[in-house]
Each structure stands twice: as structure tokens, then as C-alpha cells.
């Protein structure tokens, strides 16, 4: 890696952010969505009994880590839509005609989307505090939570870009977003503890990567804990690396007319 490679990632990062900021309606909606989930679910289930949680933890407290992870999931799954737009305007074709490293193009793109999603998750945290959620905010556990969110974001932004490169149409991309988001959310521990799920659903939730991110975040925000890296971060790291490499390879080998 040299300066020129970093410059490629930097301009792609900058362009992705520019485009995000120039679409204030889409940006506002993506911020409003987790807030609405937090408000509606938080208040709808505020009497919901959390059997396995210590006393004093409200449903809103329990929900906040789930909403943070959900914000990343929903945002990351749409990362590829921008690639589809670039394919339709032939802009991606032009970018791929340059000698720029395809891996660095992906670093810039996924880096920009991930940084946006992490900022959105932080905003969700602030809003939760404003709504009265009681959260632990120690540096080390928070860093652990952020690492989980970052790796999860890298994995799902990469997966979304991979699907976009293969599907090459907005309709197919929308199908992917709908197919992934809701089933992943409802088969995870984001909204309900696994012990209060039907057994079959609890088993699925155990292998759902979103559950891992939610559990890591919950450990940090509710119990001020930092779980072991091997079981909490390593699976996410492997998933993020594999999906990122797969997408970079696909971008290198793709044939656009």
C-alpha cells in the first residue's frame, strides 16, 4: 500500500459522504427510522417482563443495544444501492476503467458507509439517554461494542455490494434488502431475550450474527462487561474479512458493458 492507494480510498470515502450529505431527506429518514422503532417498541412493551434480566432494567434499556445493531443492519444492507446507481449511469464502468486498486475502492466505499452507520448508532445512544434509558458508558466496554458494530457493518456493507454487483438491478437489490433485514431482526435477540423465544427460534438466534452484535452491545451498555474476544469479536472479524475479500474480488473480475 502506498500514498496513491490511500488517496484512492480517500476520494471514494469523500464522494460517498458527499452524496450522503446531498440527500438530506434520505439521511433524515435513516435517522428517524431507528428513533421510531425505539419509541414505538420501547413504549409498547414497557410492561414486558424480562425474566432473565436483573431487576431495574427496563425494556427500553434492553432495547437500545438492539436498535443500535438494527441501525447498522438496515443501513449496511442498502450500501449496494449506490453501486447500482453507478452502474446505471455507467459511472462504475468508468471508475473500473482506471488503474485504481479495486480493493482500495472498496475500502473507501465500505469505510464511508461504516463511519456513517457508527455515527447514526451513536446518535441512537444519545436519543436513548434523552428518553431516559439507563446505560453504562465506560470506555473499554464501549470500544468493544463499537468494534462489534464496525465489523458487522463491514460485513453487511460488503455483502450488500456483492449482491449489487451480481444483481445489477434495483428490483433485485430491493428483494435482497427485504429478504435479509426483517428475518435477521426477528430471528435475533435484538427485541426479545433468547430465553423468552420459542426453542426453535432461540436456536436460530444463537447462530444469527446480529445476536452476537446485540449481545456484545448489551454486555457493554447494561452490564459494563467486555466479553472474551475469541467468542465475541473473532467470528465477526472472520465474517467481515471474508465478505470484504469476496466483494473486492468480484469487483476486480466483473464485466460491465
Amino acid at each position: 500500500m502506498n500514498f496513491s492507494s490511500l488517496a484512492i480510498a480517500k476520494v471514494v470515502f469523500k464522494r460517498t459522504w458527499l452524496k450522503t450529505l446531498r440527500r438530506p431527506v434520505a439521511l433524515t429518514f435513516s435517522l428517524m427510522q431507528p428513533l421510531m422503532w425505539m419509541l414505538f417498541f420501547g413504549f409498547l412493551f414497557h410492561r414486558y417482563s424480562l425474566d432473565e434480566m436483573p431487576a431495574g432494567i427496563s425494556y427500553l434499556d434492553f432495547l437500545v443495544p438492539g436498535i443500535c445493531a438494527m441501525t447498522v443492519l438496515f443501513g449496511a444492507s442498502q450500501s449496494g444501492i449506490e453501486l447500482i446507481r453507478d452502474m446505471q449511469t455507467q459511472f462504475l464502468n468508468r471508475v473500473l476503467s482506471t488503474p485504481a486498486s479495486k480493493t482500495m475502492l472498496m475500502v473507501g466505499k465500505v469505510g464511508a458507509d461504516t463511519s456513517r452507520l457508527i455515527i447514526q448508532s451513536c446518535l441512537v445512544l444519545f436519543l436513548a439517554l434523552a428518553l431516559g434509558a439507563k446505560l453504562q458508558l465506560s470506555i473499554l466496554p464501549l470500544c468493544h461494542m463499537m468494534n462489534s458494530l464496525i465489523l458487522f457493518s463491514i460485513a453487511f456493507c460488503s455483502l450488500s455490494c456483492f449482491i449489487a454487483l451480481k444483481a445489477q438491478s434495483q428490483e433485485n437489490m430491493a428483494t435482497f434488502v427485504h429478504l435479509v433485514n426483517m428475518p435477521m431482526l426477528f430471528t435475533s435477540t435484538a427485541l426479545v431475550p433468547s430465553k423468552q423465544m420459542p426453542d426453535w427460534l432461540a436456536r436460530i438466534a444463537q447462530f444469527n450474527p446480529l445476536s452476537l452484535v446485540v449481545n456484545n452491545s448489551r454486555e457493554a451498555l447494561l452490564f459494563n462487561n467486555t466479553p472474551e474476544i475469541q467468542s465475541s469479536i473473532l467470528p465477526l472479524f472472520i465474517m467481515a474479512t471474508l465478505l470484504f475479500l469476496l466483494t473486492s474480488y468480484t469487483l476486480r473480475s466483473i464485466q460491465l458493458n
Binding site: I8, Q90, S97
Partner: protein, 337 residues
């Protein structure tokens, strides 16, 4: 003439068929020398854009080889990206970015940085006269402004071989003049330009080397005036003030001059297409034709049209100069439109 040692593109036995079994190129051989301006002409679907994409290494032919700067255009494409630029018909710009942002973006992708990048961008903005609009978002640009930016991005890395796919489409006369001026200036700097276009007059005027394609085959590959000299069909245009009278009689008289003419009559004009080489008989035929028409009407214009590339194009590609009509006489030669 086109086999000198400074050739930078060499195509041999290129065959390309698309998935739907449509043959795009058949046994194409082509050499392009350094510092040439080459015009590629042909009907829609004749294989012009395919040829350009094969030179750019964007398409892989089923047979044959393409060497560009002595490198395999497909296998060694990465090494060619700094030397070759393929500028497509699609403008391929991001409408939400400004022109300046786009220039900075692509300069970084081509590895330009710091002062070099800034200097190059400023030079392009000045030479393409883009100062007035370059900071605005692209979705506010006119067609001509978009084309300028499109070209400027295409040459940001100063490629030695520039491949332009129909660059004049949708340009007004000022835009076209600007584009051809740019092409000539860029060639004078030592670069080679290949232009695909339907604008035959422009190609004839600005391209010293013309390649004509028909159904995927090269039917002419020479200087424009050589193509015209060897392939044009003599056509005589006549215009009158009054409506043409007694067309059957006119036709009879004209067929006495030469039996192998296709005649196309309109209300106040006629077009005589001579199917064989009239050569030295041209002044005589000209005089006799005027005499025939002048008997019943006033002739305002009579001129030969055999100097254009379009004329040679029609002959080489076997396209009809006289449009077919149901209103034919027994010899099947007259078309009354």
C-alpha cells in the same frame, strides 16, 4: 502507407460474435500508427463500437489478436489503462457531483496527486473553457458542457491513444467545432485518436485515415480522397423553378443519354445516378441533361455530386441511393417520389 513501424495498434483476424449469434466483426485486420487521426464509419450495427471496445480491451474477440503498444489488449489491460482512454457515448458522470469534484476524483484514481493533480485540473478547466460552470453540480449542465467535462476526464491522465465513440452526437455546431479543434490539437501533441462517427463530412474533413465497416467487415481502409476516387458513384442533381412537366417524356430523353441511369424525380428536382464510370463524359452528360430539362422548365441548379465520402459509402456498402418505390416503369429504373 499504414504499415510503418510506429504502429501502436495491430489487429489481426478479429472475429467477434455476440451471445445472440449476431456477428459483430469478421476477419478484421487493422494497423494504426502513432499520431494518426482515424475515422471509423459505417451504418448502425456495422461493428464500429465493437471494434473500438476491442482496441480498448473491453471486449475479448473469439478469434484473432489485438496488440496495443505491443501488449495484449485484454490480458495486459491493466498496463494499458494509463496509456489508453476509451470515451464512450454514455457520458458516465455522476450528476450529483460538480465538475471540479469529478476531475479531482478521477485524477486521484489515475494516481495524480498534490501539485501535479491541481495543475492538470486547472489546465483542463482553462483549455476546455469550463471556468464558468465547473463548480456547479453536473445535473445543471447543458449537453455541450457535459461533453466538455466528459472529454476532460477522459484525458486527465494524458493517454497516448484516445478512442472516441460518437463524440459529436447531440452537439450543436459550436460544440462540434470545439471537439474537432480539440482532436486536432491533441493529435499535434503526438497522440493518436480514433473517432467513430456518423458525421461523414466531418470525418472526410478532419481524418486523414478512414476505415469503413459494413456488416462487421472492413470494406475500405485508406485516405478519404482515395476511397472517394475509387468508389464514388456519379450523381447529377437538377433543380427547377417550375414543377417538372411530362415526366415520362423526360425519362425517355434521359435514358437516351445513358441507358444505365437510375432517375429519381421530385416535384421540382431530379437526381440522376449513373451506374457506370462516366469519367471524361461528364461535361457532355452535364450539358445534355441541362438541355433536356431546359426545354420545358427553367433550370436553377445543376451539379455533380461525387466528391463526398457519403457517396462512396453508399456504393461500398451497397445501400440504395435511389429509394425503392412501387412506381417503377417496365425497366424498373425510375422512382417517382
Amino acid at each position: 502507407m499504414f504499415t510503418d513501424t510506429t504502429e501502436i495498434v495491430s489487429l489481426k483476424g478479429i472475429n467477434k460474435t455476440y451471445n445472440n449469434n449476431i456477428t459483430a466483426l469478421k476477419a478484421v485486420d487493422l494497423l494504426i500508427s502513432t499520431q494518426e487521426i482515424i475515422g471509423i464509419i459505417g451504418a448502425n450495427g456495422s461493428g464500429k463500437s465493437t471494434l473500438l471496445k476491442i482496441i480498448a480491451g473491453k471486449l475479448k474477440p473469439e478469434q484473432g489478436y489485438t496488440k496495443v503498444f505491443q501488449l495484449d489488449a485484454v490480458q495486459q489491460n491493466e498496463q494499458l489503462k494509463n496509456k489508453v482512454s476509451y470515451i464512450s457515448q454514455d457520458k458516465a458522470l455522476d450528476p450529483e457531483m460538480s465538475g471540479k469534484e469529478s476531475l479531482h476524483f478521477f485524477s486521484a484514481l489515475y494516481g495524480l496527486s498534490g501539485t501535479n493533480a491541481l495543475q492538470r485540473i486547472n489546465t483542463l478547466i482553462d483549455s476546455f473553457e469550463m471556468n464558468e460552470f465547473i463548480t456547479r453540480r453536473i445535473n445543471t449542465y447543458s449537453g455541450g458542457q457535459i461533453q466538455r467535462l466528459h472529454l476532460a476526464i477522459g484525458i486527465i491522465h494524458e493517454p497516448q491513444l484516445l478512442l472516441l465513440d460518437e463524440p459529436t452526437s447531440a452537439l450543436d455546431p459550436t460544440g462540434k467545432a470545439f471537439l474537432w479543434d480539440f482532436i486536432q490539437t491533441y493529435q499535434e501533441k503526438g497522440n493518436t485518436i480514433v473517432v467513430v462517427s456518423h458525421e461523414l463530412d466531418d470525418i472526410q474533413q478532419y481524418c486523414p485515415h478512414v476505415v469503413m465497416l459494413d456488416k462487421g467487415e472492413i470494406v475500405a481502409n485508406a485516405l478519404p480522397h482515395t476511397i472517394i476516387q475509387t468508389n464514388s458513384t456519379p450523381i447529377l442533381h437538377i433543380k427547377t423553378i417550375e414543377k417538372l412537366k411530362d415526366i415520362n417524356n423526360l425519362e425517355e430523353q434521359l435514358l437516351k443519354i445513358s441507358s444505365s441511369i437510375n432517375i429519381q424525380f421530385k416535384e421540382k428536382s431530379a437526381r440522376l445516378v449513373f451506374n457506370n464510370n462516366v469519367g471524361p463524359l461528364k461535361p457532355l452528360l452535364f450539358h445534355q441533361t441541362i438541355q433536356i430539362f431546359a426545354r420545358e422548365q427553367t433550370v436553377t441548379e445543376c451539379r455533380w455530386d461525387d466528391s463526398g465520402l457519403a457517396n462512396a459509402y453508399f456504393k461500398l456498402t451497397g445501400k440504395n441511393i435511389v429509394k425503392p418505390s412501387n412506381n417503377k416503369n417496365k425497366k424498373g429504373k425510375r422512382n417517382l417520389l
